[in-house]
């Protein structure tokens, strides 16, 4: 009990003292996972919409693949991204292993199928006639898609939250491709593991609390946007 109390106390101290190291770690987590979420939104929504709105042979196979990807284990992604980015690997010439860039890549790979899968499901759930209707009213195909995306706003924002939640809380990939380098690639989750290993449980608890509070704030904002104009 002492430990939990101490941890919460220390978290409050760390947050309100604006401890530069903790602030740095928190900001980096936000930057890295935010960027990864943005990238995954671009690929996830565009490809997800495309797959939802077109008919082609083998569609079921593709949809199952995307749905499987939603549960992609971060460590597996981490392992493969590491192998690709090794100096001896196919992308080794980039020299970006153990950089924040590498974490962004790995997290994008993790989040994209999540966003894609939810987009796909939400697009398929829209009434089929809606699209025909927009086209009949003279919308260009792109305009029509835009209307559909707006119509699916609620589940799409859920996709954003799921994607962001997935990457801000993952550790396997971050520690493998980032290396948990102090002041450079140390994010909230990897720092928590390291502090636990060092026996600094108060700091570990403090970092966890910051992670939770941050995730809550982001999701609160997104929920606010999602539920705008709704009273239920």
């Amino acid at each position: 009990m002492d430990l939990i109390y101490e941890g919460i106390k220390q978290a409050i101290i760390l947050i309100f003292a604006f401890d530069p190291e903790v602030m740095g770690i928190t900001l980096l987590s936000l930057k890295v996972s935010g960027t990864a979420t943005f990238i995954s939104l671009f690929f996830g929504i565009s490809i997800g919409t495309l797959v939802a709105l077109t008919q082609f042979p083998g569609k079921k196979v593709v949809v199952s693949l995307i749905n499987t990807g939603m549960g992609l284990p971060p460590v597996v992604v981490g392992l493969f991204v590491t192998i690709f980015l090794w100096r001896s690997g196919p992308l080794g010439f980039l020299g970006i292993l153990y950089t924040p860039m590498a974490i962004i890549i790995a997290q994008s790979v993790i989040a994209t199928p999540i966003v894609m899968g939810i987009t796909l499901a939400s697009m398929q759930q829209l009434p089929k006639k809606l699209r025909l209707q927009t086209l009949a009213l003279g919308a260009t195909p792109l305009q029509s898609v835009w209307v559909l995306i707006k119509e699916a706003r609620l589940p799409l924002l859920a996709a954003v939250m799921a994607g962001f939640g997935g990457v801000i809380s993952e550790i396997g990939a971050s520690i493998m491709v980032g290396g948990n380098i102090k002041g450079y690639t140390r994010v909230l989750t990897t720092a928590t593991v390291m502090e636990t290993g060092k026996g600094n449980f108060e700091v570990a608890i403090a970092l966890s609390i910051i992670l939770l509070v941050m995730a809550y704030c982001i999701n609160y904002i997104l929920t606010h946007i999602q539920q705008r104009g709704r009273n239920f």
Binding site: L28, K31, V32, G34, T35, F38, I39, L41, F42, W86, R87, S88, G92, G95, I96, L97, Y98, T99, P100, M101, I104, T140, L142, Q143, W146, G179, N180, I181, K182, Y184, T185, M194, T196, G197, K198, G199, F201
Partner: protein, 285 residues
């Protein structure tokens, strides 16, 4: 208009994403050094003290990857690291013999200790040798937690088991964590088990574990750290200049002086003993 808005939103978010990505982009590669090292140097806090000094002095940026000595050398073997700070002498000699590393230099030492529950169920306290203590643990079937991660500590543990001549692998009382030293001590503390630990990490974790030292001081328990530069002739992409600068820094008199006093203020005794220029055979005498 609506179409325009859709496009501009997409473009803007892409620009935002890319600029963020560029913003967090890395420093130029030749200024980066990848230091592959053991968890004990990180968990004890020594590197947190030394690396900022090195970076300030030389302008290099050190990427410290803290893994077990085994994995550290595996990284060196593939040319994925520039310089190693490790403590697994037998494996190191093989590494050098294989042509993967050059300039193996002694940096410092401390020692391994056996910690365990104060009740000492296997009665290892007062054993004549470490091997005998291990034999007693095996005979009593008392829980023993191993790193099990090919680290320098794990390698040392295997050497001691061999000296003890007892069967341990696959036994019910013998468990492997596959974790770093700090976490392994935590596990041993929770499970009331024996474990082999390096003194540096143990002292750094002292406030979190109530397992006392039950055996120490045997010559077999010496824990020596070497710095090795990865061979640039084998891996042209290795930052040889940076590796040499870091290795030189580790054995320089100023650094050695810092190592000598590191931890005294916090733990009452130093965590490591500087050894630059000494011969490994003569240590602990």
């Amino acid at each position: 208009m609506r179409y325009l808005r859709a496009v501009s939103v997409t473009v803007l978010s892409l620009v935002f994403a890319v600029s963020l990505a560029v913003f967090v982009q890395a420093a130029p590669a030749e200024k980066n050094i990848i230091l592959s090292t053991t968890t004990s140097t990180q968990d004890s806090g020594l590197l947190d003290k030394l690396i900022p000094i090195f970076e300030k002095k030389t302008g290099y940026f050190v990427k410290t990857i803290a893994v077990g000595s085994g994995q550290a050398m595996a990284m060196g073997q593939k040319g994925e690291a520039d310089v190693l700070l490790v403590h697994s002498p037998d494996a190191e000699k093989k590494f050098i013999a294989g042509g993967y590393g050059i300039n193996r230099r002694i940096v410092m030492h401390n020692d391994f200790i056996i910690i365990g529950p104060s009740t000492d169920p296997a009665k290892i306290k007062g054993s004549k040798s470490t091997a005998e203590a291990f034999k007693k643990i095996a005979a009593a079937g008392a829980p023993f937690i191993s790193r099990g991660d090919n680290s320098g500590t794990h390698a040392k543990e295997k050497v001691i088991w061999k000296a003890a001549g007892t069967k341990y692998e696959g036994e019910k009382w013998y468990q492997q964590t596959g974790l770093g030293m700090g976490q392994t001590i935590n596990v041993a503390t929770e499970k009331r088990a024996y474990t082999l630990a390096d003194r540096g990490t143990y002292l750094a974790l002292k406030k979190r574990t109530d397992l006392p030292i039950l055996a120490e001081g045997d010559a077999i328990l010496l824990n020596v750290y070497h710095v090795i530069e990865v061979n640039p002739a084998k891996w042209p992409k290795v930052n040889a200049k940076g590796a040499k600068a870091f290795a030189d820094f580790m054995v320089s008199p100023e650094t050695q002086a810092i190592i000598k006093t590191f931890g005294v203020d916090k733990f009452g005794s130093p965590l490591f003993f500087p050894d630059a220029g000494k011969k490994e055979e003569n240590l602990g005498k």
